[in-house]
């Protein structure tokens, strides 16, 4: 326990929660994966948030005489077939892609956590129903469930977030249910029940904090997966609609010109890959620290 915190802090800090915080922070700072992943991700987030300041052009503005220009001093990432600045579009497009990643995961993780907590804590018929539903959702491979949901809801960006979010619910339900099942056997839960604490109190205050570690790890990797899936749906023409930029949509738009202007697809592709890579690095580091048992 003391390996990861300087002895002086451990000795003078009498608050166990604060000591734990320092211990974990110390380990995070020493994990190469966490540090590298966080730095790259923070740079990307800052650039994307500051798009209106950094971007040299409006992302939808067309410079008709400057179509398909290779990267140069004016257009850092070149221009696309309509003469739009690829660099500005990558920055603005990133806002959408990151938003899709975060909101979809929020939908999936919150719903999945509620379902998993209840199924694991109450068990019985509730557990059977929830787990059957999870089985059914898992019967749709890959992004096919998201595609089926879009087929029902119609194509637009909001529906992409809902579709990707719903399709990830089973992952969170399973992980939270599993952890809840193991935590609820522990004595302090029985003690809380014996003291007459209400179920929602036990679930939120005693069980949830104990399932947070695996949940944080899975959620982190989940954001990477959701960014890939969201961009995939826009790539297929089911999400963000032109002329607005989005990384997946930009790849699709540049596909036609791949023989003459590879830069139109190269940069949005690099942006997705770097973002996803940084999140995966962060996720790997967090897993090693928070939950070494998780292998995948």
């Amino acid at each position: 326990m003391t390996d990861s915190v300087s002895p002086s802090i451990a000795r003078i800090d009498t608050n166990p929660a604060r000591a734990e915080f320092f211990r974990l922070t110390g380990r995070f700072m020493r994990s190469r994966n966490v540090v590298a992943g966080s730095i790259i991700l923070i740079i990307i987030i800052v650039m994307v948030l500051l798009a209106p300041v950094i971007a040299p052009f409006d992302p939808t503005e067309q410079f008709r005489r400057e179509r398909l220009q290779p990267p140069n001093a004016t257009y850092w990432f070149g221009t696309d077939n309509l003469g739009r600045d690829v660099f500005s579009r990558v920055l603005y497009g990133g806002r959408v892609s990151l938003q899709v990643g975060i909101f979809s995961v929020a939908i999936g993780a919150i719903t999945g956590t509620i379902l998993g907590l209840n199924a694991g804590y109450f068990g019985g018929w509730l557990d059977s129903i929830v787990m059957r539903l999870v089985d059914v959702m898992l019967a749709f491979p890959g992004i096919l469930l998201a595609l089926a949901i879009i087929a029902v809801l119609g194509r637009d960006l909001r529906n992409v977030m809902i579709a990707v979010g719903i399709s990830t619910i089973p992952i969170y339900t399973r992980i939270v249910r599993g952890s809840t099942l193991s935590v609820r056997q522990i004595d302090y839960i029985t003690a809380a029940e014996a003291l007459g604490a209400p179920a929602h109190h036990i679930a939120l205050l005693h069980i949830l904090p104990n399932v947070l570690a695996p949940l944080i790890v899975v959620t982190t990797n989940g954001v990477a997966g959701a960014i890939i899936a969201g961009a995939a749906l826009s790539f297929l023409g089911l999400g963000q609609q032109p002329p607005n930029p989005e990384w997946g949509l930009m790849l699709d738009e540049g596909r036609e010109y791949i023989r003459v202007a590879a830069w139109v697809t190269t940069f949005p592709g690099l942006a997705i890959m770097t973002t996803v890579l940084s999140i995966n690095l962060l996720g790997d580091g967090l897993r090693d620290i928070l939950d070494p048992r998780l292998k995948l």
Binding site: R132, A151, G269
Partner: protein, 307 residues
């Protein structure tokens, strides 16, 4: 063993029934009237709409519709495409071979790549080879299939002109899409094989094998590898599912007329019966593949039979 098999099959039944119910309801959850989609905006009059509804059985109570849908499905009739009027099963039948060709090729590539990379990393644990292999695996996992597909086209088709970028039929046309599809799974597999191999290498029977003087190669191939690869079997089903999902993208990019490309077209054109039929087919195929994976796992690893 037979009890395990029966149990596994029985477990799948409620899932299959719920899947069929959900897929059936898809059509009814969709905003808009399937009859209107079938007729299109220009031709629809109230009388015509009523006729089509009657013909499609949309006026009957839901449970009757479900039972008749299932009855037909069991006889291999999943309805007709709203756009082309061709039976859905016929469309699936003509498209399926291309998707299977792609998925199996991709699985083969990803298994070979993933296992070799994972083994290499485990056997050279904590060396530069390990770091490089795992970095490669991480990059593989982080590459969206639509991005790796485009990169492969730029490199092998546009620049080197070694392979055709689009179409189907012939070995040369399946290589690029299969590679693109294989990369993500190969990365995940390499990480899994590495950790499984490292675990096995720490077991006492490996020490025993070494202690009795077996050559290192024999220890690895005969004792370590065989056990380390068992968990790989468990992810084969999952991998196949990922291949089917990924086929939606690779088939669209490489213009292969497989099931995935048909599915995207059906969603884009709001061809609900085709979406419904294909969804049902893919989900059921996936459930069956997973049952087979479990059985295979049981045959390979006798320990789980006793659980």
């Amino acid at each position: 063993m037979i009890r395990f098999l029966l149990n596994r099959l029985l477990q799948a039944i409620p899932t299959i029934i719920l899947v069929t119910l959900l897929v059936f309801l898809m059509l009814h959850l969709t905003p808009g009237d399937p009859a209107e989609v079938y007729l299109g905006d220009s031709r629809s009059t109230p009388e015509l709409l009523e006729n089509v509804r009657e013909e499609m059985g949309l006026n009957r109570p839901l449970h009757v519709q479900y039972l008749s849908y299932m009855g037909n499905a069991l006889r291999g009739d999943l309805g007709r495409s709203l756009q082309t009027n061709i039976p859905v099963t016929e469309q699936i039948r003509t498209r399926l071979p291309w998707t299977i060709e792609l998925a199996l090729s991709a699985m083969a590539i990803s298994t070979v790549l993933g296992i070799s990379l994972g083994m290499l990393a485990a056997l050279r644990h904590n060396t530069i080879v390990d770091t490089l292999a795992m970095t490669l695996a991480l990059v593989g996992i982080s590459m969206p299939v639509y991005w790796s597909s485009l990169l492969l086209i730029i490199l092998f088709s546009v620049n080197l002109r070694w392979l055709p970028a689009i179409g189907q039929g012939g070995f040369d046309r399946v290589i690029l899409p299969a590679f693109a599809l294989a990369l993500v799974s190969a990365g995940a597999l390499a990480r899994m094989v590495r950790s499984s191999m490292l675990e096995v290498l720490n077991q006492e029977y490996i020490l025993t094998a070494r202690a009795k003087g077996l050559a290192s190669a024999a220890v690895i191939t005969r004792h370590a590898m065989r056990n380390a690869l068992i968990p790989v079997v468990t992810v084969l089903g999952l991998m196949f599912g990922n291949m089917l999902g990924g086929a939606v993208l690779t088939e669209t990019i490489f213009a292969r007329l497989g099931i995935g490309q048909m599915y995207v077209e059906a969603v884009l054109q709001k061809d609900f019966t085709l979406v419904q039929g294909t969804t049902l087919f893919i989900a059921l195929a996936y459930v069956v593949v997973n049952i087979f994976t479990d059985i295979l796992y049981m045959i390979i690893d006798p320990r789980i039979r006793y659980d």
